[in-house]
């Protein structure tokens, strides 16, 4: 119990004093996760939108595959991407391994199915009357799509928030493809694992506090905006 209380005390001190090493790790994590989330959003939201609104053969199968890939372990994606970007891989000459780009590639692959699946769920919940109302008021296909996206904005935001939460807290991809290089690819989760291995809990707990606060903050922000439009 003492070790926990001691670690917590020094962790709070670290957080309050804005420790330089901790800040660097947090910045790397945020940078990588934000880029991954934006890229996955740019691909996943239109993909989900298309799948939700279009009828095509194999649609149900595709949705099942997407839902199944939500449970894909990060280490499997790490291995898969490693096979392509390691020196012997197809993209070996691009020298991507143990860079932030490598982590981003892995994380984007991890969360595209998540963003797509949650976007499909969000769009499917939108009453068809919104589409017909937009059309009868003279909207073309793009304007109608904008209306549907607008009405599904909270569901899509939830998808993005969930995707961000997934990447900022994952460790397998960051460790395998980033290599946990100090100041460069060391993220909050890989740093926490390293500190745990060393038996030094202060920084690990401090990073845990930051991670929890970030997740908590994002959810509060999301619920605040959502609440504004609830009756």
């Amino acid at each position: 119990m003492d070790i926990f209380v001691d670690s917590l005390q020094s962790a709070i001190l670290l957080v309050c004093s804005l420790d330089r090493e901790m800040l660097t790790i947090v910045m790397v994590s945020l940078q990588v996760s934000c880029v991954s989330t934006v890229l996955a959003g740019l691909v996943g939201v239109p993909t989900g939108f298309f799948i939700a609104l279009r009828r095509f053969p194999g649609k149900a199968m595709l949705i099942t595959v997407l839902n199944t890939s939500l449970a894909l372990p990060t280490v499997v994606i790490g291995l898969f991407v490693y096979a392509f970007i390691s020196r012997r891989g197809v993209f070996g000459p691009l020298d991507l391994l143990y860079t932030q780009k490598a982590i981003i590639i892995g994380q984007v692959i991890l969360i595209i199915p998540l963003v797509s699946a949650l976007t499909i769920a969000a769009i499917s919940r939108i009453d068809d009357r919104y589409r017909r109302t937009a059309m009868t008021l003279g909207a073309n296909r793009i304007q109608t799509a904008k209306v549907i996206l607008f009405e599904a904005r909270f569901g899509i935001t939830a998808a993005i928030v969930a995707a961000f939460g997934r990447v900022i807290s994952e460790i397998g991809i960051s460790m395998m493809l980033g290599g946990n290089i100090k100041g460069f690819t060391r993220t909050m989760t890989t740093a926490m694992a390293l500190e745990y291995d060393k038996g030094a809990f202060s920084l690990a707990v401090a990073l845990g506090i930051v991670l929890m606060t970030l997740s908590f903050g994002m959810n509060i922000l999301f619920h605040f905006f959502q609440g504004k439009y609830r009756t």
């Binding site: 017909r132 009868t136 008021l137 003279g138 073309n140």
Partner: protein
Amino acid sequence: MKVYSIHNVSKSINGRTILDIDHLELEAGRIYGLLGPNGAGKTTLLNILGFLDQPTSGRLNFFGKAVRFHETDLLLLRKEVVVLDQYPVLFTTSVYNNLEFGLKIRKVERAERERVIDEVLDLVDMASFKHEPAHNLSGGETQRIALARALALSPMVFLCDEPTASVDIENQAAIVALLKQINENKKISIVFTTHDRLLAAGLAHHTLVLNEGHLVSTSYENTFPCRIEPEKDKQVRCSITESAWIFLSATRFKSPIGKARVFIDPEKIELHTGETTTGAANCLQGKILQLMEESGRIRVVVTVGFLLTVILTRGKYNFLRPGIGDTVVVSIPQDAVTLSS
């Protein structure tokens, strides 16, 4: 001037025909009430007239021009026609943004948008709601704002699906008055669907009746589920309720024994005042519940164990002079009855 001409238009979904109209013409500047039971095809017809849905076959003319169901053509046509849903939705933003939506699409200048929005909000008596969030409005207010949103676009045709079905009496009266007003002042043609004959009679210049996807000249009422049972003397008994039935000739009606549907033509039913029967077959006694003038004829609703509609000519009505609450006898001739499985 014909706003719509329909020739052999049909709509099928999964092989089932839900609408099949041989010929229909709607005059510009008139109000048409489209009556019919659930599943009669009213909303399907409205969606086709609103260019939101494509017929499976047939020809539709809009102001004399054949409609091509191509996205580019439909986009232009939809700018002349607005469909108001039975339960309209407002976009989850302000009332102002809702009203502005169609105007922006039509590239109306900002100042003009502002003027039109103020005008239509005054028209529906909801000027104070201009900047309210639309999702905070009640059902009746939503219906009125949806109406205003459509009116802001000054359409040539306004198609309303059950415009008063989901609102209270006060809002119903306001909506009916508004529809009359825009038809008279702005010469907007209106087609509305309803179950309510009183509304149709009071608001529409013409009433159309749809039943099972077809336009029918008679009332869609008097269609009942029934049970067919064999009787002696080459007759079958058609029981509509436990205590109300009619006898039909087994040779004339070759319906199988068991469950069926019976349609009794309201124009062929004979009404006799007083409690005495004429001795004719299939006489049912009941009381008059409702009397209504409809396109020069008198519609009488009689309760005979079930609600039966009888349509009288004015001459017959003047002769009989039935009153509400009077005990009457209705006699149902064989040729008034149609059986279907």
